[in-house]
């Protein structure tokens, strides 16, 4: 483990920690709403990580100003575009998960998946 470089890349390290927090929330939380928040944290952490790829210290956003078109002037535009796509994907997935939650609650009056599973076994549907 290259500690000096890890400290240089502290932004990316934070993104990875956030990813871990989100991932474990999605995996381990009992409450569905918390799971969905975990999913959102995980996604944003990935986007942060991706956007950091394009960042170059001291350069401007890639919007051409005064006809300056040198590669020296702007940051890398590719990650921004990819993240833009990703954000939209994550909001649609969130809406879908929330509507699943509402349906489950309307039927079983609980947010705990394990409880629902046990109830299903009892119903023997």
């Amino acid at each position: 483990m290259n500690l000096a470089n890890l400290l240089n890349n502290y932004e990316e390290a934070v993104a990875m920690i956030l990813f871990g927090i989100g991932f474990s929330n999605l995996l381990l939380q009992k409450n569905l709403i918390k799971k969905i928040i975990g999913l959102n944290i995980m996604d944003t952490a990935t986007y942060l990580f991706l956007a950091l790829k394009g960042y170059i210290a001291g350069r401007k956003a890639p919007i051409v100003v005064d006809g300056v078109r040198s590669v020296e002037a702007y940051i890398n535009p590719i990650p921004s575009g990819l993240v833009l796509t990703g954000i939209v994907v994550s909001v649609s997935v969130t809406a879908l998960m929330l509507s699943l939650t509402i349906r489950l609650y309307r039927r079983y009056h609980t947010l705990d998946l394990d409880e629902i599973t046990t109830r299903l076994k009892k119903e023997g549907l």
Partner: protein, 320 residues
């Protein structure tokens, strides 16, 4: 001798409304907003009690740690493994990050000829001043085409789950929670009246200037969607349904997506078959420039605005 007003005419005058308002007998905005019975949907107390008792029994069964040894061991092992998995995942990622190129440096593999061409020739080749917009709507348009369909399909799944087609059923009563909310909130309505037009104008500006500055179809569409949600909250479904229903949403998004798909198929087809595209790029910086990007931005904006509003409306009411 003053002209005598008939009772009906008198009721229409401002002074009568003011008097009524001062008396507190009538709300001057009463005719212009949604009126619905304000009773709350309430379940029978016995039903609630039965349910909570059953829940208690069930919880005892689920978390019955004394008798259900198999379950307990399984859950404990599952949790331990998951925690180990998560921790080792984070450690692995941190180790990987510690070996990555430094953040913010220029000398890294990412800054290669691809990014160089986007920056140096992007303005000439796509006509978009905002290079990111030019990239996602022209160079890598296939991704974005897929992405707007992600939004569309998410709306469809939400419709499947939450749209209730049987009116007056118990589910419908429970789903439509607008019926038991305080109505005609004058503060909310005034604020909405002041705020909604600027929000719409800002959203349209962000969409139309997507190729000239920061913004574009996604952000502008989301802003307009938020404006619609605010309007809905202030004035109720009866008002919004005059101009926006599910049918209109479907037709609108169909038109926008079809337009998008057609425009992009044209450019994919001509590009792959080496046919010169006839769409002019225009002067960079002008509003009518950059070829198809403006049209695509509008299409995406329409889809996103409709989708955001539809999510909200279906969540609130189970169809609109």
């Amino acid at each position: 001798m003053s002209k005598k007003l008939s009772e009906e005419q008198y009721r229409k005058t401002r002074s009568f409304q003011l008097k009524q308002w001062l008396d507190g007998t009538k709300d001057p905005f009463l005719d212009t907003v949604e009126m619905k019975p304000q009773e709350e949907f309430r379940e029978d107390r016995t039903v609630i009690r039965e349910r909570s008792e059953e829940k208690k029994r069930l919880l005892e069964k689920v978390y019955d740690l004394e008798h259900n040894a198999e379950m307990r061991i399984f859950q404990r092992i599952y949790r331990i493994f998951s925690v180990i998995f998560c921790v080792s995942l984070v450690l692995m990622l941190l180790i990987a990050v510690s070996n990555l190129p430094t953040v913010g440096a220029f000398e890294r593999p990412v800054n290669n000829e691809v990014a160089k061409r986007y920056i140096e020739d992007g303005l000439d080749e796509t006509g978009a001043v905002n290079i990111v917009t030019g990239m996602i709507l022209d160079y890598r348009a296939f991704d974005t085409l897929g992405e707007s369909h992600v939004l569309f399909i998410a709306t469809c799944t939400v419709l499947i789950l939450l749209r209730i087609d049987k009116k007056n059923s118990k589910d419908y009563m429970e789903a439509n929670d607008r019926t038991h909310e305080p109505k005609n909130d004058i503060i909310l309505q005034t604020v909405a009246r002041i705020l909604v037009p600027p929000i719409f104008i800002f959203g349209i500006y962000v969409i139309l200037c997507g190729h000239l500055g920061p913004g574009g179809g996604f952000s502008g569409g989301a802003v307009i969607g938020a404006g619609l949600i605010l309007y809905l909250n202030a004035f109720g479904f009866a008002k919004t349904e005059r101009f926006f229903t599910e049918k209109i949403y479907k037709r609108m998004s169909f038109c926008a997506l079809a337009c998008y798909a057609l425009a992009k198929s044209y450019s994919f087809y001509t590009g792959a078959n080496h046919i010169e595209s006839i769409i002019p790029l225009g002067t960079p910086g002008a509003i009518l420039s950059s070829g198809l990007i403006l049209i695509l931005n509008i299409c995406v904006g329409v889809v996103v605005a409709g989708t955001m509003y539809t999510f909200y409306a279906i969540f609130r009411k189970g169809g609109y």
